[in-house]
Amino acid sequence: MAITLYELGGDQDYRYCPFCWRSLMALRHKGLHDFKRVPVYYRDRSPIAFSGQDRVPVLVDGDRWVNDSWDIACYLEDTYPDRAPLFGTDSGRSQARFISAWTLELQRPALTAILMWDAFEHVDPADRAWWRADREKRFGKLESYRGDRQDKVVAWRKLLEPLRVTLGEQAFLGGESPAYADYIVFGSFQWARCISRLELLETSDPVYAWRERLLDLFDGFARSAPHVAT
């Protein structure tokens, strides 16, 4: 059955949406390699109008569709139970929600503020007016985020301390093998990698080594994605 993932499109085909990356990694984790990726732009969301809402990612699997990255992960786990587990058990599924909530705390406002201007520059040019208006309502002038970011990065790295400790002890959040919890956190790192040259992590950080492992998964699937060259 044909699978399609509708994801956010950006400038020069950068596909940077962190939630879409959760779903992309989840699909590959389940061994589903042959899916179509369809970019959706802020200015025209008609491709996903069938889902009755206007946000990506949206997964279409044969005659079924699911929106929201969390629901997509649950759908994949329930629909393909014989393939590599994303959660394993009900506890695994429930506890992944904590990691999702923790990741949002990392993302907003700290990481969002650090990468605001990079994000703007990678929005598709025809979407930028909409994006600027939308973001400036919430965050103020985009230009105010263009200054030196090093202090903010150093402060942000401290927020990673629990992750750093865990990944100093085990290879993945899922234990010895990657699981959906890893893709939740990785989505934010992949978003950053797609749009920014900024070195978020020091190479000696266990989180850096973990990110390298994630980039290597599925024949370097995430590593080979279009991103800003460093």
């Binding site: 587990p85 994303l86 959660f87 394993g88 058990t89 009900d90 506890s91 695994g92 599924r93 429930s94 506890q95 992944a96 929600r97 904590f98 990691i99 909530a101 923790w102 949002l104 705390e105 402060a155 401290k158 927020l159 301390e161 629990p162 992750l163 400790v165 865990t166 002890e169 085990q170 993945f172 959040l173 899922g174 234990g175 010895e176 093998s177 699981a179 919890a181």
Partner: protein
């Protein structure tokens, strides 16, 4: 021989360690009978058999296990036919992260809210020791005074301005601004709040070790302090109440009402 759990204890045998509470709940979850052995700060010769100085320590027949996380893993491996603490390999990996979050964020943020209250619950003969070691370890100048002596790796303070800010210099100063500090601490609990609002326990429909990790600091708090950590309408409050009711209301029966 019945299983024994050695726990850090103070005046009137009140238990003084969040990590020990994690192990108490893990043992209860596994439906194991066990004896709780309180050990005061300066009674370390009583745990010399373990080859180190930190608690909790589990003694199960010939096995001696130190460190609350190692104890949880030991119990899961040794008693696999009893209710699972982790829910499989992925569940264990995730639980480790939640436990590390507890150790690095929650416990650090909580400690200074009632570190002076805890002093009142330390055995009077050990209060001077408690004050000297805690002020050395957690004061703003702790980087300068830390001198390579063994400290609990879970007790090493995170960055000075991380997780609720730097501690003060004395126990009194550390606790003094808690009425303003509490708002930041409640905000740090946001991941727990989000999950507690959508499901009964962190582990889902039933509690697991992830819940006991986060519960440990709450019971540690009420053991020594009446300070109000949570608002009544906070989803974490309802989760905590469910947790307090487990195992014949052990949490409610411990320490001060909150």
């Amino acid at each position: 021989m019945v299983i024994q759990l050695y726990e850090l204890a103070g005046k009137g045998d009140v238990k003084l360690s969040p990590h020990c509470w994690k192990s108490v709940y893990a043992l209860s979850h596994k439906q194991l009978a066990f004896e709780r052995v309180g050990v005061k700060f300066l009674e370390k010769e009583r745990i010399a058999f373990s080859g180190q100085k930190l608690m909790p320590i589990l003694r199960d027949g010939e096995s001696v296990v130190c460190d609350s996380w190692a104890i949880a893993r030991y119990l899961e491996q040794t008693y696999p036919e009893r209710p699972s603490l982790f829910g499989g390999a992925i569940g264990m990996g995730e639980t480790r992260f939640i436990n590390d979050w507890t150790n690095k964020v929650q416990i650090f943020a909580f400690r200074r809210l009632f570190i002076r209250d805890a002093y009142d619950h330390v055995d009077p003969e050990e209060q001077a020791h408690y004050r000297a070691t805690r002020e050395a370890r957690f004061s703003q100048s702790q980087e300068q005074v830390r001198s390579g002596r063994p400290v609990n790796k879970n007790d090493v303070a995170p960055p000075e301005d991380g997780y609720g800010g730097a501690y003060g210099n004395t126990l009194e100063e550390m606790q003094a601004d808690r009425d303003t500090r509490i708002h930041e601490v409640r905000r740090l609990l946001e991941p727990v709040r989000v999950v507690a609002a959508s499901q009964p326990y962190l582990a889902g429909g039933q509690p697991g070790y992830a819940d006991y990790s986060v519960l440990g600091p709450f019971i540690w708090a009420k053991s020594v302090s009446r300070f109000r950590l949570l608002e009544a309408d906070d989803p974490i409050h309802a989760w905590r109440d469910r947790m307090f009711r487990l195992f014949d209301g052990l949490g409610h029966a411990t320490g001060h009402p909150v």
